[in-house]
């Protein structure tokens, strides 16, 4: 792997980790105006997938969407300001943590109805196919194991398959839908097996190992760009925190389970691998960490100092044009 790509993967994962930790700290200080859903633990997924995408590719995301935003290149200052409800936020403080979007970066928006963004990514791929730009612009639908219980996933996978659309369905199986364990709610062991029902390839990858995710996603994105249609990827992963900031996962998980996953932390695996094969050194890793640690302090400062939206903003942006 090229050095720049390697660094980018680490930067993205570390940036997501630090953003989530910082965002949670700020939430507990009362700086977030609502609920927040941390994705720490799951960083390898967004990083390994989005490493293959450009601003012309589109992603749909979920209520646990900060990682997808960061991996798609969104500005952490504007993201933090959005969570603080400030006018400088990515959506002018009108969307909040669960609705961060940046259309200039190919980010169709985090979506707080479970599964609801999946057909949007299919629609973005339909646009590409309609305009003959599949090679340039694919759609990626990120969703969790919880969304596999939603009917719209079935509809979306079927449509993508019959129309051979350039879509990658990425199921981040973090093993819990809110407080419901996956083995209770999902009828099969590997969610990727469901791909067979839509005659598309289905593959399960280690969602804690960014190199594994990177490889699997690369194949799927290439397939889509070549016009060979959709792929379902399942990433086995784990969220370190509860469903939302105030949810204590100890109420439904054992400490042993947490420890088992944390032993396989994506940053730890990455560092061990790159040091072992000499592709990065500790010094360059530390340099990246220091830069991002500073970036987080600056993001909080930016959000803190930014003004609240004007009350008139309540009424704007409902329509492009409603009444004269």
């Amino acid at each position: 792997m090229e050095k720049e790509k390697l660094q980018w993967l680490f930067e993205s994962m570390y940036r997501i980790r630090r953003f989530e930790e910082t965002m949670l700290e700020q939430t507990f200080k009362g700086k977030s105006m609502g609920v927040t859903h941390s994705s720490d633990g799951q960083e390898a997924g967004p990083a390994g997938v989005c490493a293959h995408l450009t601003d012309k590719d589109w992603i749909g995301s979920t209520h646990r969407g900060h990682g997808h935003c960061i991996a798609k290149g969104l500005d952490t200052k504007k993201m933090m300001a959005e969570i603080f409800g400030k006018s400088t936020g990515q959506c002018k403080g009108k969307g909040g943590s669960m609705h961060i979007a940046d259309f200039s970066k190919g980010m169709l928006g985090a979506n707080a109805i479970v599964g609801a963004s999946i057909p949007l990514a299919v629609g973005a791929a339909l646009s590409s196919k309609y305009n003959g730009t599949e090679n340039d612009s694919v759609g990626v639908a990120f969703f969790g194991d919880g969304a596999t219980g939603q009917g719209v996933l079935h509809e979306s996978m079927n449509l993508a398959s019959i129309w051979k659309l350039p879509v990658i369905f990425v199921c981040e199986n973090n093993h819990y839908a809110e407080a419901t364990p996956v083995e209770y709610a999902v009828s099969i062991e590997d969610i990727s097996d469901r791909a067979a029902a839509y005659s598309m390839p289905g593959v399960t990858a280690d969602g804690m190992d960014v190199f594994d995710v990177y490889e699997v996603a690369g194949e799927a994105v290439n397939r889509a760009r070549k016009g060979d249609g959709p792929t379902l990827i399942e990433l086995k992963t784990f969220r370190y925190h509860g469903h939302f900031h105030a949810d204590d996962p100890k109420k439904y998980r054992t400490p042993e389970e947490d420890e088992k996953w944390k032993d396989r932390d994506c940053l730890k695996i990455f560092e061990e691998k790159v040091i072992a094969n000499n592709s990065m050194d500790l010094e360059s890793i530390k340099k990246i960490k220091d830069l991002i640690d500073t970036e987080m302090i600056e993001a909080v400062e930016f959000a803190e100092k930014s003004p609240m939206p004007n009350i008139e903003e309540l009424y704007s942006d409902v329509y492009v044009k409603y009444k004269d």
Binding site: W58, G60, G89, Q90, C91, K92, G93, K94, G95, H99, A101, D102, F103, S104, L108, G109, N111, I113, A116, S117, I118, P119, L120, A121, V122, G123, A124, A125, L126, S127, S128, Y130, N131, G139, G151, V152, H154, E155, S156, N158, L159, I162, S316, D317, V318, Y319, V320, K321, Y322, K323
Partner: protein, 371 residues
Amino acid sequence: MTFDYSQTFRGSSGLPNTDNIPGSEMRYRDAFNLTLRQELDRDPSVFVMGEDIAGGAGRFEKDGEVSYEEKDGFKPLDAWGGPFAATKGLIQDFGTDRIKDTPISEAGVLGAAIGAALTGTRPVVDLMYFDFVTVAYDQLLSNAAKSRYMFGGQTKVPLTMFARSGAGTGHAAQHSESFYSMLVHIPGLKVVVPSDPLSVKGLLSASIRDDDPVFLVNDKKLINLNGFVPDQEVVFELGKGRYLKRGSDVTLIGMAYTSEICRKVAEKLEESGVSCEVVDMLSLSPLDEDIILESVSKTNKVVIVDEDTPMCSMASEISSIIADKGFDYLDAPIKKVNSPHTPVPYNRDLEFSFMPSEERVIKAVKEIVEY
């Protein structure tokens, strides 16, 4: 000579003059089909999706012969031409990319259309029966209507949806809804209700060209209604009602097919010396409050005719606007003629008792005309 359809709008004095205007009499359904064709010709980013909008998807035909494979001289099969033939002939002229038959997947298809609208195209989605909106309601409410607002105005959703509404054809409880208010209630969505061939032309063009999501409701009872349609382009301004008749004693307010009821009632009552003014809303969101108040300020009496069930209906909303902003104009109670608070029954006698009828409107007028 060009046809000035704005003559019927608020502040105007009469009906549009169609003398010497190039055009023809045609059915509502033909006006719909022709307008869709015009819009597809006009803008290559417009495409249409829906279940059986052609029919026999993936197959081909030539002079009535069906083929499972593409053969010389064969064209894509157009077995149905869409529900009520709304899209007849389009697939053979515009091809399968622009006239896209879909599986029965309302939520997935509408969601995909929203995703397509967010990324630079202008989809038109046929949801077949109005009742089927509820299957896709989450996509409509949470994505189509909210994306612009919750993302801080950085995007737009230029999407048009249409479906067939209304009782009166024996389609029973799950294929006969008129729940306009379930859509009008949604901020971020526009809702229009044409009432004749001219207005379906003007409103469909306007909906497709609009940058916001618009739902156009086709009342089944209007589909074979005849009327004059000019050849020229007609693009109504969304959010304006029109007068179908001017009068002085009572205002009758209709929407979609109930406008046609109001027009007929006004004609009948004219003979018995009651002068009714007929306001056809055309658009329910935005709602033309000014035309309502303009008319009621003159007649001082009003009957609102709405096929939707009565609780939280358009008739309720219009009543509340008049009670709030036109209280001083009123010389009699506001009268609502709705369907009752029941599902739509199948039996024809029950079904015709369910819908607002000319008789029920006349009864309401008589209750207030001498008030």
